[in-house]
Amino acid sequence: MNRTLGLGAYKQIFLLPGLLVLLAIVLFPLLFTVRVSLSGWDAISPGLNWIGIKNYQDLVGDQRFWQALARLSFMAVTTVLVQYVLGFGLALLVWREIRFRRFFRVLFLIPMMTTPVIMSVIWRTIFHESLGPANDVLHWIGLGPYPWLTSSGWAMASIMIVEVWEWTPFMFLFMLAGLVSLPREPFLAAAIDGAGPVRTFFNVTFPLLAPVSIGAIIIRLIEASKIMETVYALTSGGPGTATETSAYYIYIRGLRDFDIGYASALSITYLVIMIVLLTLIVKCLVRLFIGRSV
């Protein structure tokens, strides 16, 4: 009796501090946001009045919000897929026999360690139309100049290039950690069967790494659904609103224009949509990867 009581107390000592801190810092703000989203809090009349679901009715017709959401989804899915393919490819390249293996491994990891917003500022100088090296180097081979940050299509491309530069290392890290921990036997078996590198990859490596792949893609999709710092530093959402993502638009409405009530409604909507979309994507991914390999 005494012993089980003691164990119960110990259980709480381990879990409660972390849980309570997180609950206090996250749950209260979240509930508060829901309440604020039902108010008309803005720069002129700050305060918690009650206007019901008017903010939510307004956002249904807010083209700028839905366009930002569509743009974000496109950016997130495209960049994560590119990162996955490149990261997996690079991991395979430096997995085994290659000179200076450890040097390349360190080098390939570096971008994900660096501060995204600071590197975006450097990339902005690279993409500068007349003074930056991007157009200069392309000029040597007879291309350009391209309006990297001032036309909508190119600005999207610039943001996505920086995202790929920054986060391919994350995929690389996961896939390489997965490759390093693989058992040797399946590869020996494949070699004995006379399978070439391509068949070995599709019949052994890829299926064995399916769980790692799913995990890495999901984590990256979650992080990519929050893209805003690269946008802020590279284009400030411009030209016009052509590169605004959801998070950036909410930031503009809430913390720059101080339409706190409306921005809170946008936040809650964005959060719910992201959770639903990500859950669906996770289900599809699991079916796609596991379903085929079993």
Binding site: F14, L30, L109, W165, L173, P211
Partner: protein, 281 residues
């Protein structure tokens, strides 16, 4: 023949990606030694040959003529990141250990749900939390203070710590606990004396990720502080105005990401020893 061709392609791919990776760093390095003349004439790369190098960009960071202060933001960044990481690691390790060893049940909520609750905080976009955090810190008089930022960063870092440590503890056999308990240790004693020393690699990996994600945050530092407590990313982005001093900007960027490059070396060491595989999966 095909073997040779394959090898050439392989090295070409690796070198090509390496060039892409180092481009912004090399560009920042060469830019940091330029003056206004070296920048406004178009892109130049090689000092002495194409432009006259100068140390102004670096001097300015330490209160030179144009007086951009990088020292205070640097100290702030170190204090805030280190404190938040330390708290997250302590709380996260305890919670993760509890979740991997004991059964919890509150109504329909069980261990798996609790782990998911911790990790799912990463789904929360910073912008959703920024508005309530802003009002909450204002109310607590913690806006524009280090303590306020530390509190906020725990939300970012605790999920990472729990996520890595739960997996790590799950890989340590339960028999170790039972043996320690038979020797007369309390559950807390078993944790401190037996489990902790064995989980140092996991704690280091989790700590590194906390440091990186804390150091690299921009959004909360940007929205929740103004002038008192400037962190590195905010200080550097504030240089990113229309008339940007590219040379100081580059120098500042380089010294703020420099410590993180060391982390890449550490991560690679763990990776090559296979420690990371257990921590990540």
């Amino acid at each position: 023949m095909t073997g040779n061709l394959y090898r050439i392609l392989k090295y070409a791919a690796v070198v090509l990606w390496s060039v892409f990776v180092v481009t912004p760093f090399l560009w920042a390095l060469t830019t940091s030694f330029k003056t206004i003349n070296g920048v406004t004439g178009g892109a130049t790369y090689i000092p002495w040959l194409q432009y006259k190098p100068s140390l102004d960009g670096w001097h300015n960071l330490f209160g030179g003529s144009s007086g951009i202060d990088i020292v205070h933001p640097y100290i702030n960044s170190i204090i805030v990141t280190a404190s938040a990481s330390l708290i997250s690691i302590v709380l996260g390790t305890l919670a993760a250990y509890g979740l991997s060893r004991f059964d919890y049940r509150v109504g329909i909520v069980k261990n798996g749900d609790l782990v998911f609750f911790f990790i799912s905080q990463r789904i929360m976009p910073p912008v959703v939390l920024a508005i309530p955090f802003f009002l909450m810190l204002q109310w607590l008089h913690l806006l524009d203070t280090r303590l306020g930022l530390v509190l906020v960063y725990i939300v970012l870092l605790l999920p990472i710590a729990v996520w890595i440590m739960v997996d790590f503890f799950n890989n340590i056999p339960r028999q170790i606990n039972e043996m320690a308990m038979l020797d007369g240790c309390t559950p807390l004693g078993a944790f401190v004396r037996v489990i902790l020393p064995n989980s140092l690699p996991g704690i280091i990996v989790a700590g590194m990720f906390c440091l990186v994600f804390g150091w690299n945050d921009f959004f909360f530092a940007f929205t929740l502080t103004f002038t008192n407590v400037q962190l590195l990313p905010t200080a550097i982005v504030s240089l990113n105005s229309s008339v940007t001093p590219w040379w100081s900007l580059s120098a500042a960027a380089l010294i703020s990401v420099a410590p993180l490059v060391l982390v890449a070396f550490l991560v690679e060491r763990f990776l090559s020893r296979g420690t990371l595989a257990g921590a990540i999966r």
